[in-house]
Amino acid sequence: MVFNTGAALLDAIVLAVVCKEKEGTYGYKITQDVRQAIEVSESTLYPVLRRLQKDDCLEVYDMECGGRNRRYYKITDKGTAQLKLYQSEWVNYSSKITMLFSGGELT
C-alpha cells in the first residue's frame, strides 16, 4: 500500500467492521478484521474506538467470557447513519478516481 489512510477512512473501516457483528465485537478481533483490508499497527485502533465511542457512534458493554470481563463494541443508530454517509462518499470518491485511472470521461 502506497496510499495513506486518513482518519475519516479509518473511522469508516472500523464502523464497517463493527457493523458486521450484530452482537458486538472486541478490540483484538476488530484489529484483526481491519488488518484484512489495511495494514494497521496494534496501537492504532484504541484512539479510534475511543473517539467513536465518545461520538456515540459505538456503544460499549462488558460481557463475561472465560472467567473475565471482555469489552464489546456495538454500532449505534448514529454510527450506522455515519457509516452510510461514509459508504456513499466512498463510492462517489473511488468511482471518480477509478474512472480517471481507466481513462474514462467524468460526467
Partner: protein, 226 residues
C-alpha cells in the same frame, strides 16, 4: 519487556490523563493482550514498540499534545515525533524559520521603500509647489528690496536736485527742507543697500544651504534605507 512491565509503564505514563481515560485505555490493552493469547504476546509487544508511543497516541487523540503530527500509513500510525532524527529535524526547522523571517524582513524593507517612493511621487506636486513657492517668495522679496533701494536712491536724488533748484529760485527755506529730506531718503537708501548686500551675501546662500540639507536628508536618507 514483559506484558506486565508494559502495562505498568503505560499506567505511569498516563498519570496526567483523566482517571476515566486512563482506566479505559488500560482495560483496553489489558484485554487486548488477554484476547490475543500468550502465543501472540511477544509479537504484539514488538508491534506496540513502546509504552511511550502508545501513551503518546492516546494523549494525541485527547488533544493533550501538539496537533496530531502522525498519520496512518502503510506501516500503521506513524509519528515523526518518535523518530530519532527529531533533534536534527528541529534544528533544521529553526534555521529554516530564521531564513524565512529574514526574507520576510527584507520583504518588509522593500515594501517600505516602495511605500516611500509612492508617497514621494503622489505628494510631489505639493512638495514641488512648496519648494518653488519658498524660492519664489525669497527671490521676490530680495528683488523687491533691491527695487525699493533703487527707488530710494532715485527719490533722494530727485529731492536733493529739486532742493538745489529752490535755492536758485529763491526759496532758501524750502530748498533746505527738500535737500534735507533728500539726504534722509539717501541715507535710508544706503541702509537698504547694506541690507541688500547682507541678503545676497548671507541670507540666500543660507536658504540654499538649508534647502540642500533638506534635500539630502530626504533623498540621501532614502538611499541609506536601500
Amino acid at each position: 519487556m514483559s506484558r506486565e512491565e508494559f502495562m505498568r509503564q503505560l499506567e505511569k505514563l498516563l498519570m496526567d490523563v483523566s482517571e476515566e481515560e486512563k482506566r479505559e485505555a488500560l482495560s483496553y490493552y489489558r484485554s487486548y493482550f488477554e484476547d490475543a493469547g500468550e502465543e501472540n504476546e511477544e509479537r504484539i509487544l514488538k508491534e506496540l514498540e513502546s509504552p511511550e508511543k502508545v501513551a503518546a497516541t492516546i494523549k494525541a487523540d485527547l488533544g493533550m499534545e501538539q496537533p496530531r503530527s502522525g498519520a496512518f500509513t502503510e506501516h500503521g500510525f506513524e509519528d515523526q515525533r518518535f523518530e530519532n532524527r527529531q533533534t536534527v529535524d528541529l534544528r533544521k526547522k529553526s534555521s529554516q524559520d530564521q531564513s524565512e523571517s529574514r526574507s520576510t524582513y527584507s520583504g518588509n524593507r522593500t515594501l517600505n521603500m516602495i511605500l516611500i517612493a509612492a508617497i514621494v511621487i503622489v505628494t510631489s506636486p505639493f512638495w514641488g509647489g512648496l519648494l518653488v513657492g519658498i524660492l519664489g517668495s525669497v527671490f521676490g522679496t530680495a528683488i523687491g528690496i533691491l527695487a525699493a533701494t533703487f527707488a530710494l536712491y532715485v527719490a533722494g536724488g530727485v529731492l536733493v536736485g529739486v532742493g538745489i533748484g529752490q535755492f536758485v529760485v529763491g526759496g532758501a527755506a524750502i530748498g533746505f527742507a527738500l535737500v534735507g529730506a533728500g539726504m534722509i531718503v539717501l541715507a535710508l537708501a544706503i541702509l537698504m543697500t547694506a541690507l541688500c548686500i547682507w541678503i545676497c551675501g548671507k541670507a540666500i546662500p543660507w536658504i540654499c544651504n538649508v534647502i540642500g540639507r533638506l534635500w539630502r536628508s530626504i533623498f540621501g536618507g532614502r538611499e541609506r534605507v536601500i
